[in-house]
Structures are given as C-alpha cells and as structure tokens.
C-alpha cells in the first residue's frame, strides 16, 4: 500500500512540488528565493546527468559543455539574430542534443575511465571555444543576456524565477521518472548491470546509451538556458570542466540512480558555498571535508544512504 504511493514515478514529482510550494512560504527574502532558484536549475541538470550516470552507468565529465551551449544560446542568438529568448533556449537545447547525438556514438563506445577522459576532452573543447571566440561570446568576461519578455510581460524578480525554475524542475523530474519506469528506462538500467545480457535480451546497447546521452545533454542545456535568463549574464566558467566535475559530484553526493538525490546533491553544493562564505578562508576546507564525510558515511549517496538507514539496513 505504502509502496504504491511511494512509487517514485508519482511520488517524486509530488514531493518536489510540495517542496517548491512549501519553501516559497518559508524562505524569508528574495536572496533566499534566488538561491533556491539556483538549486532548482542545478538539480535539473543533475537529474539529466543522473539518468546517464546513475541509471545507465555511463560517466560524463563534459556535461558543463552542454550546459554552456544552452546558456550561450540564449545569450548569443537574441543578441546576434534578435531571436526570441525562448526560441533561443529551444535552439540551444536542440543544438546540445544534436551535438550529443553526433559525438555520442564514437565516445560512448569507450568504457569507464576512458569514457571519462573522452567526455572531459569533449567538454573542454566546447568550453575553450566559448572562452576563445570573444567576438561572439564576449570571451572570458562573458556577455549580458537579453531579458525575457513573454507577451509584453517582462519576466523579472526573484519570486517569478523561483516559480518558473521550480516548475521546470518538477516537470524534469516527472519526465525522468517516466523514462526510468518505461521499457527504455529498464533497458538503460539493464545495460548498467550487464551489457552482454542486455544485448542478448535484444537491446541495442549503443543506441540506448546514445539516447540517454542525448536526453541528458538536453537537460543540461535547458538548465544552462534557465540560468542565463535568471542571471541576465553568462560566463564561460559554467561550461568549464570544473562545473562538469561539480555536476558529477552532485550526482554522486545525492545518490546515483535517485532523482530526489539529484535535488539533494544540487542543494548541498549550491547552498553550502553560500553558507560557508562566512567561514572566509576556511570555506574550501570545510566544503571538502563535508564532501568526504558524506561519502564515507553514506556511501551510496545522501538519499539512498539515508533511506537504507531509515529502513534499518535491510539487506
């Protein structure tokens, strides 16, 4: 009985919706709403990456590249071609998906650490292009993003963006949950455990990996576009490999193969640095320490780790 209610496909978007609505009352100021919006955006990208890493078991150390493509699409396209920012976001998501589709096939033939280094290199190429082609992207200094206007209404204010990004997160979690519970999702989880058995079961493993790679790239690009619109400014460091590693860390910290975990992981790594600024010079030490302690205590990540603690470590 409890099990059906807790079926992740229904429960997770519901929990997140409640969280978004609930927090909107609890958060005292625009500053907090803004931080929360940043959490929702990161969480969206992390959910996409978790589909790839946690479910299909394929690592990507280059996802910030896709994030950057989404972000720069809404910066560059309206500025250069006076495209509407929403269309630009769509174009960014499409471009990221297309690029993932093209490079995915050769890259995803690699396994484990080799896949990691190949995606890392690929992400670096995107990041380098963004920071070196200053005529288009403003180079290392970044560039401003045109404000979003919908039917004459200028979208602005921390609360507005809070709701928009929160809505995006809930939709993203819903779609991810759908995928996981579908035949495609089962194929992905299967190839994570045994590629050979998955192939023998009729799964086109290369194609399945490519599918989830493209989907996760689109998630990252949408998140990147949202961040650019919220900030009104883009900088190349969001396409940088440090951001890629941050996204991967969020996935693992929150819990591989857990959508709620993705939100938890994003929340930790977005909120902690804000909190830790009061530690000044000790900020990084504390951050690194917390990461290590979480991973040592809750090896499978925050959400799965806590879940198994609560259910009394049933094995």
């Amino acid at each position: 009985m409890l099990k059906t209610v807790l079926a992740p496909r229904f429960a997770v978007p519901l929990v997140l919706a409640v969280l978004v609505v609930g927090l909107s009352f609890a958060l005292p100021s625009n500053f907090y709403l803004r931080v929360a919006a940043l959490v929702w955006i990161s969480a969206l990208a992390v959910i996409g990456l978790n589909l790839l890493m946690g479910y299909a078991g394929q690592v990507s150390l280059g996802h910030a590249g896709f994030f950057g493509i989404g972000a720069y699409a809404v910066a560059v396209l309206p500025a250069q071609f006076s495209l509407h920012p929403l269309l630009a976001a769509l174009a960014g998501a499409l471009a990221a998906g297309l690029l993932a589709y093209v490079v995915g096939r050769p890259i995803l033939r690699l396994k484990g650490h080799y896949l990691a280094v190949a995606t890392l290199g690929f992400g670096m190429l995107i990041a380098m292009t963004i920071s070196n082609e200053a005529w288009l992207t403003g180079g290392p200094d970044g560039m401003p993003v045109e404000r979003l206007t919908l039917l004459g209404w200028r979208v602005r204010g921390a609360d507005t963006w809070y709701w928009i990004t929160g809505g995006l997160l809930v939709i993203g979690a819903w779609i991810a949950g759908n995928l996981v519970a579908s035949p495609t999702g089962r194929a992905l989880r299967a190839l994570h455990d045994s590629e050979v058995a998955a192939r023998v079961a009729g799964i086109d493993v290369a194609r399945a990996k490519l599918t989830v790679f493209v989907i996760s790239a689109v998630y990252a690009a949408v998140a990147g576009a949202a961040l650019a619109l919220v900030n009104g400014f883009v900088t190349p460091d969001k396409a940088n490999f440090m951001h890629s590693i941050e996204l991967v860390t969020m996935v693992v910290l929150g819990g591989m193969g857990s959508i709620l975990g993705s939100v938890a992981g994003a929340a930790i790594l977005v909120v902690l640095p804000q909190v830790l600024t009061s530690f000044h010079d000790y900020e990084h030490m504390v951050l690194g320490l917390i990461m290590m302690v979480i991973m040592i205590v809750l090896r499978s990540g925050i959400v799965p780790g806590l879940a198994s603690l609560l259910t009394g470590r049933r094995k």
């Binding site: 280094v117 890392l120 991973m295």
Partner: protein
Amino acid sequence: MDKARGGKQHGEPMPELLQFCVSGLTVGAVYALVALGFTIIYNASDVVNFAQGEFVMIGGMTTVFVAAAGVPLPLAALVAIAVAMGIGLLLHRLAIEPARGASAVTLIIITIGASIFLRGLAQVVFDKQFHSLPSFSGDTPIAFGGAAILPQSFWVLGGAAVIVVLLWAFFNRTLLGKAVLATAANRLAARLVGINTSFVVGLSFVLSAAIGAVAGILVTPITLTSYDVGTLLALKGFAAAMLGGMGNPLGAVVGGLTVGLLEAFGAGYISSTYKDAIAFIVILAVLFVMPGGLFGKASVERV
C-alpha cells in the same frame, strides 16, 4: 657549461622545433610523473586519486615557504617531500581506508573532496599568491642546436628519469615492490599469501605523494606555483594516464610526454589559446582507434 650567446633565434625552423621539443618534454615530464602517481595508486587499489595534483602543489608550495623561512633549498625540498608523504598517508588512513569497499565513483568523489580540502588548506597555511623558486643551476639559457634551453629543464627531465629508474628498481628488485605488484595483479591472492594489502595501498599513496612533490619542486622554478595549480595538473595527468592506458606505468610516461609535446607544438605552430584543445583532440582520436589507450591490451572480454 656553455654560456649562451643571447636569446633564442627566431625564424629558423630547426632551432624552433628543438625549442618546442624541450619545452614540451619538460612539461610532459611533469604530466608523466602525475600520471605515474595515478597509475601506482590505481594499480594498488582501483582508486582514481584526483588529489594527485595537490601533491605537486604541496611539494612546490612547502619548499617555497620553508626556504623562505631560511632553510637551505635542498633541505626545504626534503621537508616538502616528507610533508607530502605524510599527507598522502593521512589521505589513505582517514579518507580512503574508512570507505573501503565503496564503489569506484564514491571513492573518486572522496578524492575530489580531498583535493578541495587540500587546496583550501594550502590557501590558509600558505597564501593565494603565485610563488617561484630559484632555478637550481641559474637562469642562463644553454645554447643547444641553436635553441636556448633553461638549465632547469634538464633538472626536470633528469629528475623524472631518475624517478622512473628508481621506481622500476623498486618494483622489480625489492620484495616490497613485488608485494605491491602482486597486490595490483590480484588483491585476493595477495592477501591469501600473507601480503598486508592495506599497507600496500597506504604505501602506494605515500609513494605517489612523494613523486608528485618531487615533480612540484622541480618544475616550480619554470612554471611558478600557487595553491590551486593542482587541479589542472590532475586533469592533464589523468588524461595522460588514459592516453597511455590506465594502470600501465610505461603508458603513463609515454602519455605524459606526448601530452606535453602536443601542447608545446600546438601552442607553437597552431594556436596558443587552443593548445589544450589540440592535446585533447589527439587523445580523443587515439582512444577512438585504441579504446584501451596506447599500451592497452586488445583482449576479448570474458563472459
């Protein structure tokens, strides 16, 4: 030693080529040492230690600050190596050992956490400035085949060569080294024949830390150092190790030198802003053809 006749000569293709070669090999030697550090720890424990770059930083920074306190440079360098080894040991005892049996990604995130922590620690204990060390044998470039080569480059290359030889001797000539190899080959079997594998893994961390620190000390006079140089070095070292074939020491050395050369030639002949891109494009191309790296064995996965 020949005194140089002045700066480098521009425009002539051969000296230029040589110049790029030497600077590429110098940087490459550092990457190779970082990659070796990755390899040693990976072989002993399957852990990919992303804090490997921090050992290089600790080596350089500690030497700078200990030397600044009035300690003679060679002694300062020894202190720095000892400090790095201590930190390597602590990393293993306090962070890796308690998480024994955790999945590979979990362990990787722990080492990333450790790398952030060590960076933060360096920021507090030292500072956020760039620092240099005096070159070991002066700064007068040595003319060589028309190119002007910094004497420190020879220190780096020579130092790396000495480390490789010492490592080879350690693994092939000492009982302890053989125990490490045995552990790398088959952990369970090693445990069964009475090897203390936890000790071996700890040793691999200490060894890798020492190698990283030496690299940091040797290269600081050329490239400077600061609390955050480790990240990029870890990245390049990891890429180099993968290019060579993970777990293969020879591959690590060749991979490191190759990445260094690619960067130098890419920067010199194609575009300095895209030098990293060129290195990675070549790495991608190699992996597409050889998915197990340059020295990876082509084997059929057993089912």
